[in-house]
């Protein structure tokens, strides 16, 4: 399905722009915004650093959510990326908020309160394995810098498919 059916999509780049690889979601969101241009029914928040209940405030009113974020897993290889939906959600680096709640709980709370939030299968999380989110820098780590062009192309293609109704979970 496309935006012409009236469904609204929010694309969010999560992360910290000055914390090395933590910025990878922001970079992806900027690249997606540039590639998509102005598209009806699709809003892009290129830089978002809030999780938990704060994210609920942003997501309320949308039919579909696309999150771009970083992740660190045991023995993960920087540059690898993963895709989750609301049913297979794993907490990525910036979706959680130790001071209130995680994304799944925040969205469920929103549903119970009568807010319009995306269904589980309309939450699409793309998470990139990173090497360094401990050093303040506006540059990616060497490992991720090398991997970025390839992973960005793959993720951007998936997001485009998703928005055009070809991708998994586009539903309809």
């Amino acid at each position: 399905m496309t935006a012409q059916d009236g469904r609204r999509t929010l694309v969010v780049g999560m992360g910290n722009p000055i914390l090395s690889d933590d910025a990878v979601g922001i970079r992806l969101a900027r690249d997606i915004a540039a590639r998509l241009g102005a598209r009806d029914g699709v809003d892009v928040i290129e830089e978002c650093c809030v999780g938990g209940l704060n994210l609920l405030d942003l997501v309320a009113g949308y039919d579909r959510l696309v999150v771009l974020d970083s992740i660190k897993t045991r023995d993960g290889r920087p540059g690898t990326w993963y895709r989750f939906d609301g049913r297979s959600l794993r907490e990525t680096m910036n979706l959680a908020n130790v001071h209130d709640t995680n994304l799944a709980t925040a969205l469920e709370l929103g549903r119970q309160m009568g807010h319009h939030v995306p269904d589980d299968d309309e939450n699409h999380i793309f998470a990139v394995e990173i090497a360094d989110n401990m050093n303040f820098s506006e540059e990616l780590s060497p490992q991720l810098r090398e991997a970025y062009p390839g992973l960005a192309e793959e993720i951007l293609a998936e997001v485009e498919d998703l928005l055009s109704g070809r991708g998994e979970g586009a539903g309809g």
């Binding site: 910290n16 897993t73 993960g76």
Partner: protein, 488 residues
Amino acid sequence: MSRKISIDPITRLEGHGKIEIYLTDDGAVEETFFQIPELRGFERFVVGRPIEELPRIVTRICGVCPASHHMASAKAVDGCFGGEVAPLAHKLRDMYYQAHFIHSHLAHFYALAAPDFVLGPDADPSTRNILGVVHKVGLEIGGAVIDARGKAQEIQRIIGGRNTQDIWCLPGGVAKGLKPEELETIKPWIDGLYEFTQFSLQLFRDVVLADPAYVDLILHGPYTLDVHNMGVVDRDNAPNFYDGEVRVVDFDGDEICRYSAEQYADHVAEHVESWTYLKFPYLKQRGWKGFVEGIDTSLYCATPLARLNVADRMATPRATEAFEEMFATIGGHPSRAILANHWARLVEMVQNAETLQMYCADPEITGTEVRVVPQHVTGEGFGIIEAMRGTLTHHYTCDEKAICTSANLIVGTTNNNAPIQMVTKKVASSLIKPGTEPDQGILNMIEMAFRAFDPCYSCATHSLPGELPLEVRVHRSGEITHTFKRHC
């Protein structure tokens, strides 16, 4: 052979912290270590940048309390330019910051603290969250929480243009004032927030104070610490979150010291341990004495309860009533009961709401003189405020062209690093005794100790996963005999 228990929150997200609990041969807790890697290089990152950029950069340190860093940084930058600030800008900054306090405290109380009390410390971990609270108390209350949080954030946005990643404060003032029509919009919301603070206090009375078991948990057992208290106060020794002097009071209520922002280095020093990246602030004039409680300790808490412990009263009338009720209930002022921090947050929110109401009635608040443009560079500035999680210090220097030459930050959670270590050990010691096998209960009991401090490792170190994955491993004679996990 000693045994080791590891509480490891890193099973899903690598590179964060863990708690190591070492047992003696007979099974008693010998020592605990809470370890968190620290973010590196912020001071290096900002050196060489225009000093006026720092209030915008520091909001990127942390997505949890960006407004706190923005305010402390703005005050430090004001100092680098001579310190003159438009009086109206101080009022507007304070107003903005009260709203930030409310939505942060609301989120903590209802999402993190309330599950322990509304559902009970022994509740199934799968329901021990805000959804469980809503299920128990009703959708209507859940909706009210969401609405109140949203209104507090919207008040921030209307006053300061944004509610995250602030760019509003400028040297000598702020970038925009509050229009009369904006004031009319937020007035009823602020009245609603005041009513919600009263509702929250009543909920606390009904759910927590009405249960003797909860009151006993708060007042006795391992959740008490004999360390001192730090907080910013006004001239009348009432809490002030935006401006004032730092007051340190011992746990008997006697003042240890009182200092202005530029004197912080004379009063606070940081101890380093080889087993953690986090530093341990202590009262410099007493010297580092180790992780010890007692009247001679150099350790202190900087928490909501500590802020009320250093205060003689609150700055507003209804908050003072709540303050008096709280201390009358928990055995007097000051209090050593760590879990009373949850109640202290509610008391603080009353002051936040009343202060907002006061500003709404101020005929000058919609004025337009919101900035004094700096005319010269003086080269050094200090900004101390109360972040939700404790006293926050920013100290900058710059050269004659206003280029940053140094930056030093002591963040709220760092102040509490030693007390967190100590209460962790106390709780572990109360649960793990010779002849007693540790069980799943240790997880939430230790989490309850953490939650009272509302620690923020986003800036003290880095963000922990949202629901704090915990893994407890019990080692005996080199073998793992028990493993307890949560959220991992």
